[in-house]
Symmetry: D2
Amino acid sequence: MVKKKLNIGLVGCGFMGRTHSNAFRQVPQFFETGHDLVLKAVCARTRPLAEAFAGNWGYETVETDWRDMVTRPDIDLIDIATPNNSHAEIAVAAAKAGKMVACEKPLGASLADSEAMVRAVEAAGVANMVWYNYRRVPAVTFAKQLVDEGRLGRIFHYRAKFLQDWTMSSDLPQGGAGLWRLDGEVAGSGVTGDLLAHCIDTAMWLNGGISEVSAMTETFIRERHHVGSGKVQPVVIDDASAFLARFDNGSLATFEATRYARGHKALYTLEINGEHGSIAWDLHDLHRLELFDHRDPGATRGWRSIHITDGDHPYMKRWWVPGLQIGYEHSFIHQMADFLEGLDGQGSGVPSFREALGTDRVTDAVLRSAHDRQWVSIANAEL
Amino acid sequence: MVKKKLNIGLVGCGFMGRTHSNAFRQVPQFFETGHDLVLKAVCARTRPLAEAFAGNWGYETVETDWRDMVTRPDIDLIDIATPNNSHAEIAVAAAKAGKMVACEKPLGASLADSEAMVRAVEAAGVANMVWYNYRRVPAVTFAKQLVDEGRLGRIFHYRAKFLQDWTMSSDLPQGGAGLWRLDGEVAGSGVTGDLLAHCIDTAMWLNGGISEVSAMTETFIRERHHVGSGKVQPVVIDDASAFLARFDNGSLATFEATRYARGHKALYTLEINGEHGSIAWDLHDLHRLELFDHRDPGATRGWRSIHITDGDHPYMKRWWVPGLQIGYEHSFIHQMADFLEGLDGQGSGVPSFREALGTDRVTDAVLRSAHDRQWVSIANAEL
Amino acid sequence: MVKKKLNIGLVGCGFMGRTHSNAFRQVPQFFETGHDLVLKAVCARTRPLAEAFAGNWGYETVETDWRDMVTRPDIDLIDIATPNNSHAEIAVAAAKAGKMVACEKPLGASLADSEAMVRAVEAAGVANMVWYNYRRVPAVTFAKQLVDEGRLGRIFHYRAKFLQDWTMSSDLPQGGAGLWRLDGEVAGSGVTGDLLAHCIDTAMWLNGGISEVSAMTETFIRERHHVGSGKVQPVVIDDASAFLARFDNGSLATFEATRYARGHKALYTLEINGEHGSIAWDLHDLHRLELFDHRDPGATRGWRSIHITDGDHPYMKRWWVPGLQIGYEHSFIHQMADFLEGLDGQGSGVPSFREALGTDRVTDAVLRSAHDRQWVSIANAEL
Amino acid sequence: MVKKKLNIGLVGCGFMGRTHSNAFRQVPQFFETGHDLVLKAVCARTRPLAEAFAGNWGYETVETDWRDMVTRPDIDLIDIATPNNSHAEIAVAAAKAGKMVACEKPLGASLADSEAMVRAVEAAGVANMVWYNYRRVPAVTFAKQLVDEGRLGRIFHYRAKFLQDWTMSSDLPQGGAGLWRLDGEVAGSGVTGDLLAHCIDTAMWLNGGISEVSAMTETFIRERHHVGSGKVQPVVIDDASAFLARFDNGSLATFEATRYARGHKALYTLEINGEHGSIAWDLHDLHRLELFDHRDPGATRGWRSIHITDGDHPYMKRWWVPGLQIGYEHSFIHQMADFLEGLDGQGSGVPSFREALGTDRVTDAVLRSAHDRQWVSIANAEL
């Protein structure tokens, strides 16, 4: 098989730049794809930063202005790993330049941004995806299979939480390297867009559309030093966000995210309760899926702790042998492999911009509901 | 020490009649109290039922009308273990007769009932308590100590769930032996009063008052055969109930209860996240408390699974030796022992009627919020 | 049904005296039996001790010399809850007096003692049992059912441990109240007879006879103050004991017990691996059984954590409702109920003196193997 | 910093060839080292196999006879990932050719082989290591730090198991692709060299030398089709192996490995009990370390489940952010990084051939003990 080259241009050298780059490098050794991934260029604000990153990960060239990158003829795919408030501008420009676009989540920093992004990629007809990577944790992908097979029957309940504790110190400033997530202007929102967005993406993938929400948010530390302004300023992002929801299928849900839950670093948990069974998963032990099957004989019914490391579990035959777990980064590798498979015409199932817009509509409704203290319906409006 | 006799009259011979009777019988062997408990009389609807129960548990006499029992001069304490809609009438009559009153939870089947009950016991000046037994699970009592010592610091989050799956079959009728909980007229509400009431009682004990709620409820199976009427009738109780809340101390909360969560029989879980640490507990492994202490040195921080069986854990020196767990029924034994200690003038800490009214105000607000689809504030109204 | 009276005489007022007495008191409320249990007499070394115990538990009379008790015509069953080195004398005398005999484990303090005890009860033809209570933990009883049904198929491995940490301080003396287990003369052996005996009893019940062992023992703290002599003396009991074994059915086993395992209070664990599945249990969460069934479909195979609280689990319909756990003491209640059922002619399955002798033969072989540093075969000798 | 090139020649393209190759490729992006790793050549039995492997992993050239590879002047390090019985010949030749040598475990297929290998690398003065990768799981490395700091105090017990279930079908042949581990001639031994060797390496690293063992082994399926001979032949490897041991420091140990433990794929567990605390770890959840610290205040003592994903845990600052776990393959990456650090003169701590010989002396003693049915002392003989 002759492989097509796929030249990648990455914008952003932070944490997500690393996870994406690792995925680009690891896919070829573990998945058979029709494409040769080429790490063609990386863009950062300063040349030394870009060069260091390029040197480490093997990018062939560097840029310091993403505008130069998105028009380069030798780039096929623009991968956006910058803070949220720059996603839209880059993505729209890339789409206009006819590039495929991959974008870190959430899609845009505002609903208007997200809509513009969907319009741009669809108008251009370019392949697109958003890095809602948790769908590609094998246990979550396997949960999707079980749900789709009807193993759980009618769904009654969905439950998701994403709990962290990394911003609990009042000494932490807004903005600056690694802390842009605390700066409302850059991040758009706090945990709603950062953490709940993940929960919502998985939830809608597994359980369908969300029709209405009632939410509350809180900012526990209300003033912090701002790195940009040099002053102590009000914090405008939400430290915690929780909501009740109803799905289109009639099931009820509770969602919660916070950065003020001591003892939890990245505890993304989900649980689904259906007529015939239930499923639970958590990111802290991502290689396990808990399954309760009511059709097991009564006395020996119990929650099964399935160690998702067997060859007949999603993705796992690509890796090691049964019993040997994989980690967080593999979810990105799997998503990239699926994206490439999609390019080969086999249907990817990766989260498209349009799907990610659906998630943004929910987070937007959550923020409005919390602000207005009332239930908000999710409009499945035409774009 | 000469012990005073305390003559008990029990109304109701169902599941809760059994747990209370067992507590009355077991307290004396394990706790030093100033009272001799005498199982003086039990009341059931029919004489054979009452006699069988009396024979099994050692009650000296039987009654078939509770009105006869509450006025008997040889009864000191009336214990109410009947379905919810009879609590108020019995309790008020017992208080008027000058009896101490113990009542199964929830206090009344309606807020008006509950208020009348508080007025009655307080006007009569009789000792009173409500069987919110889960406070007396040693792990929960220990959690209370840790919170009161300030071990967790400022509280940010409270989270409670009570998940069951026993009513998921549409074949189950409303009413009848053991199924009065499905009959709205008898039960007052569904999981809100049955399960959330437990969650709320513990929550307010551990974390103070709740100021406002936004709730949703659902009835998944909307018609069932009614044992009383012999007809298929609409189900008026809530099968599931969830709410967002704010506590007076500024912390945020999510609460949820359902009887439609496959795989969970009685999974009452709670978690508190504070500035310095977190606590988690669940009823399915009630002898364990999970504690995260942020003041542990960084690299060796972790959730501690504390096996609550040591002599320095609440109540446990009364039982066996370290490592040997106790069960569900012990929570009732502990509550009765604490009640007796309170009679001896040492302050009981058991849930009073007035405290239970506070819980009912929250469940009432939950039901109104769900009905009206809006946030509801909890009035700390004068009675 | 007219019940027969069964008059009980208890010898010993320590920890085990309490667990047995609680069982005698609790059986009638929860199990239907053909006998009325009467707590007729209790014997302790001093009258005040005996009277306090009798007052607490409801024994009608007291004795201070067990010789007086075993010949009392109003006693039907002698229950022995004294230190090990007095078991034989009491049991033999009781049997000769025609009493039923229940005895705390291990049977005798030496193999010769144990053999004499078996001879005595069998010659007298009296009902007898040894309190190997862990067979009656519902999860363990359920494991026995699964094994007997062939659910595991051919057995390859058996694994048991009993880990404690209560004697690790060198300040702890030998002998004295509660510490006779450290006094070799009284206890006979250390953890071998105390803890391994439990493991072996369960193992032989579940998996059949043990044919040979290779063992090692250790005494970590080699001198302690002796309460009796008032001097520092060599410790002669084993602090730790481990052995390899082969069962008659060809399976391999490892056994270990110690009082020097920090963090474990009474961690008795067992695991069985068979052709079709595996089973695991531990005393620290005694209400759960872990089951792996290889015949589950491949991708959804996992260890099932079975919450042994349902009505179709052994003994559990006698107690509360699904989801509500029981504790340690219930194993004694169950054993007593089974013993009574055996008296009614329905076959008890409780551990007889003869079965307990089988266990002693293994512990004896373990001690000899450790001493002689060689494999020792278990003689299934004629008595 | 100018990096030195380190040209690698890999022998063997099986499972371990993959894990090593992945490590070579991943080290540079995550660790700062003084060397540029160059995947210079790979050797397999057939050219197509070698070329496919080279194509996938990026090896520059291929060989089909390892003898040609070990003498190539452009190779600095020979990495041996072949079946056990070829380790010695390749390693000795490589050392004689002045190459650094890395070798899959166990060192040799026999003790004589292993001794020859140590002599060869030490005579040649070449850097060497054996892939006992589990030392480099961050939780295990962290356990080593805690032990070395004296956190556990005097050690009383060590316990290790490695349980699998992949060879339980009698249809599985001896030999052939992937099944050479069942062929005694190729593997040398069964689980003793394959699984126990891992347990012993970690144990001696954490707890020092082993002085004596008493072992038993078993072959449950005694005849299997042999791929080489085409006949049904006796199986000569051990399916299960267990032993008692004493360490030089006076602690007692039990070790067990089997391929007949249903439900366990690669359950390598270890536990250490010391005076002040205990540690437990298992490979199925390799990113967690369980720690019990007796110096915690009594009532809040508990086993801490430490999620080994923080920046102050070994290796973890190289990877993602707290809460995000890594997998099995990372242990190889870490070992390679440590090896390179050792070349830079900072002391590597990776398992040397000499250390691996120590492990082989124990496995050899285990096999002899099982055969002779007696305790065997481990000679710390001069080589």
